[in-house]
């Protein structure tokens, strides 16, 4: 039921799921600036087997909370991602749109809370592991 992928390749758009009336997609794109500094690229690190098992837990949560949801998709890039490229794509398909919006927002919130993936911002003059230092 859950379509989970961690990949070093560019992310592809997800095709339309013809049986589901409501499909909500989130695309997270690398912004060229962060806190006023130019970002050259991001580098993502992950503890891959644990990240996949945490994402599967989140998909189970979603199925329990929104039983009508038919598809949970989360594809995340690892390694170098340049400004303007997609770092993450999330998609929820469901018969009804309210469920799809809520479940997709929940998926992104939980991704950022529990899934062991780390983002390094690379500037002209150094780098910074996001959230890692006070």
């Amino acid at each position: 039921m859950a379509d989970i992928l961690l990949t070093y390749q560019p992310l592809e758009f997800s095709p339309v799921s013809p049986a589901d009336g409501a499909q909500v997609i989130f695309q997270g794109v690398v912004r060229p600036f962060s806190k006023g500094k130019e970002v050259l690229r991001l580098e993502f690190d992950a503890y891959e087997p644990m990240a996949i098992s945490e994402l599967e837990k989140i998909a189970e949560e979603i199925k329990a909370k929104w039983p009508e949801v038919n598809q949970v998709l989360l594809h995340h890039r690892l390694g170098i991602v340049n400004a303007g490229e997609m770092a993450v794509i999330a998609k929820i398909s469901s018969p009804h749109r309210a469920d799809a919006f809520e479940a997709c927002a929940h998926l992104m919130n939980r991704l950022k809370e529990t899934v062991p993936i780390w983002k390094k911002e690379c500037y002209n003059d150094g780098h910074y592991w996001v959230s890692s230092t006070p």
Binding site: G28, F44, D45, A46, Y47, P49, M50, A51, S53, H76, A87, V88, M108, L111, K112, E113, T114, V115, P116, I117, W118, K119, K120, W129, V130, S131, S132, T133, P134
Partner: protein, 79 residues
């Protein structure tokens, strides 16, 4: 007791990708944290990190057994 210790994100830059720990004082996550803070003082300058044992989040009382795979999990920042 021997086990593998993985480190990710900012912790990888301090500890390395993977080390083998062989230390009879380490029996649970709490004692591992004490050993880590002594051995790698730079870890103390980071935001609060978690420990995973065999790919699951652990608490301070989680026991570590020989052959376990233990990981340092800095604050996650995916997405």
């Amino acid at each position: 007791m021997r086990f593998s210790l993985l480190a990710f994100g900012v912790a990888r830059e301090i500890v390395g990708n993977e080390i083998t720990v062989d230390n009879s004082d380490i029996r649970d996550v709490q004692s591992l944290r004490i050993w880590l803070s002594t051995t790698y003082p730079l870890l103390s300058g980071l935001n609060k990190w978690a420990i995973a044992v065999n790919e699951k989040y652990a608490t301070d009382s989680t026991l570590i057994a020989p052959g376990d795979v233990v990981a340092i999990i800095p604050p996650v920042s995916g997405g």
